[in-house]
């Protein structure tokens, strides 16, 4: 896909949800030659779990997408990505959890499957661009392409897209980025799309039960061990570090403490869950690796190595002011106002100071062990 060629034929990734349904409709109305594609990423039948309508990619969702394609009047296909999804998303997800991290598989899926492999295959069949139902916007100016938050701040999904490249942004369309969720639903109702009032997909699309059971089933089970405090004193026993996340309070099953205790660190190397009072969760700085920059200013030759910006630390996090200092291939991030909590393994995504444009992002590193 060359950068300059006009976009004529577009693959619209259809999950069977209302956002991608309306995306396909809008593209078709805008005169693009659209084909709808659902990505088969996980075999629910052979991996347990019901094909409940709360998840995407289940056969029911494909039927919904197929009916939408029929009503819009576009061809529709299912592409099989099971093998690469397993290798690039699931395996990493399981591995990170068993190392005491809290990964975000949606980012891997976007980065490595949806906007890479789907795009490669789209190109092979003669398509110029990929569209999705993400609530995000792409704006082009003389400097290049800018990835912006969706207009509907409650639904914004730009957080998941920070690892796209300029070349990819040039060939990406987010048709619902300028709309609110309610406007999307209204349009779907107006055109009598069968997905107009479909419930939102929740949580992680390939996990139908608990994440912990999924991890165990996929071979990421970790052995039981000790729950300790910062001083290294044993307070109880844990069921494997993969079953815990930083910030968790419930289910620790340790009595006798005067104050509420939270998981403040998962020390997979020594098989320990470290707990402490709430204030120990709050930190003043953290490090980010696997950095990827997307805004024209930050990929240019004279990109700043120290700057202030807004960091979003998880999906649906409002973002907090930080100072970023780039050292080697890592970012040292310092909170400018209140100290906050972070989950190692999650993405930290940096936005400009108006909290609208994605600058780039990376993975939050675990802190060095507090005790030793």
């Amino acid at each position: 896909m060359s950068d300059s060629a006009e976009i004529k034929r577009v693959v619209c990734a259809m999950s069977g949800g209302v956002d991608s349904s309306v995306s396909a409709l809008l593209l078709h109305q805008a005169g693009y030659d659209v084909l709808g594609v659902s990505m088969q990423v996980w075999d629910y039948r052979n991996n347990g779990g019901s094909c409940s309508r709360a998840t995407c990619c289940s056969p029911d969702d494909f039927t919904d997408a197929r009916r939408v394609a029929g009503r819009v009047g576009i061809p529709y296909y299912v592409f099989d990505f099971e093998k690469s999804f397993k290798a690039k998303v699931i395996d990493n997800f399981v591995e990170k959890y068993s190392k005491g991290l809290t990964p975000n598989p949606c980012i891997d899926c976007n980065n490595k499957v949806k906007f890479r492999e789907l795009r490669d295959r789209a190109e092979k069949i003669g398509c110029d661009a990929v569209a999705t139902g993400h609530f995000a916007r792409v704006m082009q100016d003389k400097q290049g392409y800018h990835l912006l938050r969706g207009v509907d701040s409650n639904k914004d999904q730009s957080y998941f897209l920070y690892s796209l490249t300029q070349a990819e942004l040039a060939r990406t369309i987010f048709p619902v980025g300028e709309m609110t969720k309610e406007q999307v639903r209204e349009l779907a109702r107006e055109f009598d799309l069968n997905t107009a009032d479909k419930a939102e997909s929740q949580d992680i699309c390939f996990v139908s039960g608990s994440v912990q059971d999924f991890i165990a089933k996929q071979g990421g089970k970790t052995p039981p061990g000790d729950i300790v405090d910062k001083a290294g004193r044993k307070l109880g026993s844990h069921q494997g570090v993969h079953r815990y996340t930083v910030g968790q309070r419930r289910g620790l099953d340790i009595g006798g403490a005067d104050e509420a205790l939270y998981v403040i660190e998962l020390d997979a190397q020594n098989n320990r869950v470290i707990v402490g009072p709430k204030e120990d969760l709050r930190i003043d700085r953290f490090k980010v690796s696997e950095l990827s920059w997307i805004s024209p200013a930050h990929i240019s030759q004279d990109a700043p190595s120290t700057f202030e910006c807004v960091a979003q630390l998880r999906h649906r996090h409002a973002g907090v002011p930080v100072r970023v200092n780039l050292v080697d291939n890592e970012a040292e991030v310092e909170f400018l106002e209140e100290h906050s909590t972070v989950s190692p393994g999650q993405a930290a995504v940096f936005y400009d100071q108006s909290n609208q444009e994605v600058l780039g992002g990376g993975r939050i590193l675990p802190k060095l062990s507090i005790i030793n």
């Binding site: 034929r9 084909l35 659902s38 088969q40 056969p59 494909f62 197929r66 009047g73 061809p75 529709y76 296909y77 299912v78 592409f79 099989d80 295959r121 190109e123 092979k124 069949i125 003669g126």
Partner: protein
């Protein structure tokens, strides 16, 4: 969506224009074929006229019967389960390892009922093909023994088009193991090979309507003279108690019209199929030196399974669909999810080779220039996809 050129006739032929005309003319003012009154009689006449046409097409003689079903899948399931359901066969025989002998290349509507029976403890043996996709008579025969009660081998394979020596195998087996019923799935052979049922020497044969230009949802099981089998469906006495349920009159009518048309046009049809298939084949050979055929010489004349190294067949199917050409990357699948062909894997192709194989299956009749245009698009698409690589 616009109409397109069907190079996927093994999945479905599409309604023959003759069938469509006849059906519109017939009007179908009918009631239940089992009813005594005139509304019932009108339906009964349609069903019996169709039975006559199908009998004629297949060269049936006295006592050989056509039992209409909902399709070849039902006919195949009936065959596999009839021996299991037969109270005259002892459990010990049912559990012997060669109770059923079939092949790995069968359609899922044979393989899956066999797998189900295997789960229930019934013995099933599967013959393996060689690398060319052939089933050798003596190798198949060697799997059969005195406990075998059912032999099922397709006449021609739906994915490769390769023909199996069913007449020879039936002859050998019936001579030495008379307790074994012999069945053939002839779904892809009718109208593509000029044969009569009796010359195959089989006891049972399945056919499908929509592969012949009739509607989907209708097929038939052909039963040799004097043979009664346990039905799959129990209920009313329809089809001489062989298959309960009110007849699908509309579907059966379409099958009758298609059979009539084929009886009259079979010979020219088969020649045209070969000419059309060979046009595709020579274009591929002339343009791409690296293509490899999974279809050998002894095949039905309309099918060409070909591997194009480096090109994912699923992507080619989508790309061609976008320019109005229908073909397939293997057997049709309801979900739309592609998987590597069990037939090609059984022949010894690896996953990658199987995923680079497409099936082209032509009809006899196209609009003037239609097939040529489709071939041009096929060549253009493959060329472009090789460049993108």
């Amino acid at each position: 969506m616009k109409s397109s050129t069907n190079l996927d006739a093994n999945a479905s032929h599409g309604l023959l224009p003759y069938v469509k005309e006849q059906m519109i003319a017939a009007g179908f003012d009918y009631l239940n074929p089992s009813s005594i009154h005139s509304g019932g009689q009108r339906a009964r006449i349609i069903v019996e006229e169709s039975r006559h046409e199908v009998s004629k097409l297949l060269g049936l003689t006295d006592g050989e019967r056509v039992v209409f079903t909902s399709g070849a899948t039902e006919a195949n399931n009936s065959v596999v389960f009839c021996r299991y359901l037969d109270p005259k066969i002892s459990d010990a025989v049912k559990k012997s390892e060669s109770f059923i002998v079939t092949s790995e290349l069968e359609h899922p509507s044979i393989l899956e009922p066999c797998n189900k029976l295997a789960e229930l403890g019934v013995g099933v043996k599967f013959a393996k093909p060689n690398r060319a996709g052939q089933i050798k008579c003596d190798e198949f025969y060697n799997l059969v023994d005195q406990d075998t009660r059912l032999v099922s081998l397709m006449y021609a394979n739906n994915e490769t088009g390769n023909i199996f020596p069913i007449a020879q195998i039936a002859h050998e087996i019936s001579r030495n193991y008379s307790a074994a019923l012999i069945h053939t799935d002839a779904v892809q052979s009718v109208g593509r090979i000029d044969f009569d049922f009796s010359e195959l020497g089989v006891d049972l044969m399945s056919i499908s309507g929509h592969k012949l230009g009739a509607l989907t949802g209708v097929g038939a099981l052909i039963i040799r003279a004097g043979l009664e089998i346990e039905p799959l469906l129990y209920g009313g006495p329809q089809e001489k108690r062989s298959r309960a349920g009110t007849e699908n009159v509309l579907g059966i009518a379409s099958l009758g019209y298609a059979a009539r048309w084929l009886s009259e046009n079979k010979v020219t049809q088969i020649s045209k199929l070969k000419i059309n298939r060979d046009k595709v084949k020579s274009s591929l050979l002339n343009n791409f030196s690296d293509v490899e055929f999974n279809t050998h010489e002894a095949s039905i004349p309309n099918t060409l399974n070909v591997r194009i190294p480096g090109i994912k067949s699923h992507d080619l199917v989508v790309a061609l669909d976008l320019v109005g050409v229908c073909l397939s990357s293997g057997a049709a699948c309801a979900s739309g999810k592609p998987g590597a062909s069990h037939v090609l894997l059984a022949m010894g192709l690896d996953q990658e080779q199987a995923s680079e194989s497409i099936r082209i299956s032509v009809k006899a009749d196209y609009e003037p220039e239609e097939l040529e245009h489709a071939i041009d698009k096929l060549v253009t698409c493959i060329t472009r996809m090789k460049d993108v690589r």
